[in-house]
Symmetry: C2
Subunit: 161 residues, 2 copies
């Protein structure tokens, strides 16, 4: 084996740190919602932010686990049907740790391999992971509008610690 390290756009640790930074910010957005509005408020027929959070919970950790185990299973929100903000935040923290555990087990060599996520989205693993992050940013952006419409100042976009 050659030990030369080529310059890289980003390494594995950097990408996980980036993702976890986004998860920290999304956690703050969940926290910013009053309990009632987290479950009941929405605009234009979209889902309340609690349901968007449950979707994000159903993707990140479960998807990383299935990628690492190379077992494609169907998408399901069943394990994350939650009814209080406290429950959502607790599962959020739990899944942040799950993501880190499996992400760290994924060899760099596999990022360019195709994986049939949830039995229906066959893309390179890096594209799957970008989807998890992008989908979180996308839904969180919706959450910012909900908060503004409720007269609540959302957390700063660039705060990720």
């Amino acid at each position: 084996m050659d030990t030369v390290t080529s310059a890289q756009v980003i390494n594995k640790e950097g990408l996980l740190k980036h993702w976890q930074g986004h998860r920290n910010l999304t956690r703050r957005v969940i926290e910013a919602f009053p309990e009632k509005e987290l479950f009941g408020f929405s605009i234009g027929g979209m889902r309340p932010f609690s349901q968007l959070a449950m979707e994000l919970l159903s993707i990140g950790g479960p998807a990383m686990e299935s990628i690492v185990k190379n077992e494609s299973s169907p998408y399901s929100e069943e394990a994350f049907l939650l009814s209080t903000k406290e429950q959502i935040l607790a599962r959020w923290d739990e899944q942040t740790a799950v993501i880190a555990t499996y992400f760290n087990q994924l060899p760099t060599e596999r990022f360019s391999e195709s994986f049939n996520l949830f039995g229906q989205y066959a893309f390179p693993i890096i594209e799957n992971i970008f989807y998890f992050i992008d989908n979180e940013i996308h839904h969180r952006g919706q959450g910012y509008v909900y908060l503004r419409a409720l007269g609540i100042e959302p957390p700063m976009f660039w705060e990720r610690d």
Copy 2:
């Protein structure tokens, strides 16, 4: 020079393709707004989507140019104060090409280097670039809520061609 290529999480071409895919989707969101609502509609005191698009125009291309030229200049929206959807879409296409030109000139070695973006955000270049992409996804997510509130079906999130 060693010609061994180490496995990478993502390569330069892949990251540009990812970004350009997001730009294609954002372009569709701009197009989906009726002219009047693009400039006049907003929720909760936020900016109309035209102003968010002008912010995005003021970041991507100009920032990539300043990174490649290693010249940090202050953030300004002055070059992108536009008043019709047609103008915004034309400048969007122009800046998509500008981004590709400068992105391709940036050596992979520089992605981990720090750059003081707009004279005030000193971060590794890869983090700057992720910020450009993430900020676009974030504001576009807001645009989705505006469209839904207007009774307009937004484009599919996963369509990037």
